[in-house]
């Protein structure tokens, strides 16, 4: 059997299959109308566009909403730098200004300006011992 004969035999076998299948083919009108009905059931394009638009609006509302107010802050605990000692007044000793005041250049400090310390100055008035 030549190649051409083989091809002819194959074509005849397929042609017979085609004839038998054609007898079982559903009517075009029925299949086409069912397809059209199925498409209508899926929804019109306008309806789908409206749904899509509502979806976009809902998404925008979620993304653009005002951020929630921050929760109320708890009362701030007092800082260590604000602390004042209750017995600090005891350190207010007389003469502390001397320790806090730098010496003004040149000679010895003028004790005469400080009450109670004028005897320490080099003045001519001397305390006479009794």
């Amino acid at each position: 059997m030549t190649g051409e004969d083989d091809d002819r035999a194959l074509r005849e076998a397929f042609a017979q299959a085609r004839r038998e299948d054609a007898a079982q083919t559903p009517a075009f009108a029925r299949v086409w109308e069912t397809a059209r009905a199925r498409r209508m059931r899926r929804g019109r394009p306008v309806f789908r566009l409206v749904l899509a638009g509502l979806g976009v609006l809902a998404l925008a509302a979620v993304l653009l909403r005002r951020p929630p107010a921050p929760p109320p802050q708890p009362p701030r605990a007092p800082s260590i730098i604000d602390w004042r000692s209750p017995t600090g007044f005891l350190l207010q000793t007389p003469g502390r200004e001397v320790l806090g005041t730098p010496a003004l250049g040149g000679g010895p400090p003028d004790y005469s300006r400080i009450p109670g310390l004028d005897g320490l100055t080099g003045s001519s008035e001397r305390r006479r011992s009794s």
């Binding site: 076998a13 042609a15 299959a17 085609r18 038998e20 083919t25 299949v31 899926r42």
Partner: protein
């Protein structure tokens, strides 16, 4: 626009159904569903004929992809159901037994021989011998190169002849 296509689709309807049958393992009910879904795609505008090939070649490509998509979804559902039930997935029968009963012996022999071939060879032989397409047109339907289509065609033809000779032997 689908209205101008309707007369052409009607003229191609018998050939389209034959191709849908080949894509669905000769399950008549499944083939009709596939063809219907392909028409829905045309009506929806999901499948648009752009004139780059013949209408028949384009439509056959739509039918083939539709059948493959349905097959994948069916497998996925069967696998998921099988896992959920904790047993073997119940797969649908591959062909329509009623159609098989009505078919002639020649038709049945050809169908058995074709089922023994790899899918690509089977599709090519159907497109060339059943649908009278050229190998080039068949390659466009299948989305493969012309060279690959010719290879599948020649190998498929040889194997089909061997299968049919085996069918002829007592």
């Amino acid at each position: 626009m689908t209205q101008p296509l309707e007369p052409d689709l009607e003229a191609l309807h018998p050939a389209s159904f034959g191709w849908a049958l080949a894509c669905c393992g000769w399950d008549r009910e499944e083939a009709e569903d596939v063809l219907q879904e392909a028409y829905v795609k045309v009506l929806d505008g999901a499948a648009v004929f752009d004139g780059r090939s013949s209408l028949k070649t384009w439509l056959f490509g739509v039918i083939r992809r539709t059948a493959a998509g349905r097959r994948r979804r069916r497998w996925a559902r069967a696998l998921a159901l099988g896992r959920w039930l904790g047993g073997q997935a119940a797969l649908p029968p591959p062909h329509d037994p009623e159609s098989s009963a009505r078919a002639s012996e020649t038709r049945r022999a050809l169908k058995r021989a074709l089922e023994a071939l790899p899918a690509r060879q089977r599709e090519l032989l159907h497109l060339v011998f059943y649908q009278d397409l050229t190998v080039e047109e068949a390659s466009r339907v299948l989305g493969i190169s012309v060279g690959a289509a010719r290879t599948h065609y020649h190998r498929g033809k040889e194997r089909l002849r061997e299968q049919l000779r085996g069918e002829d032997r007592p």
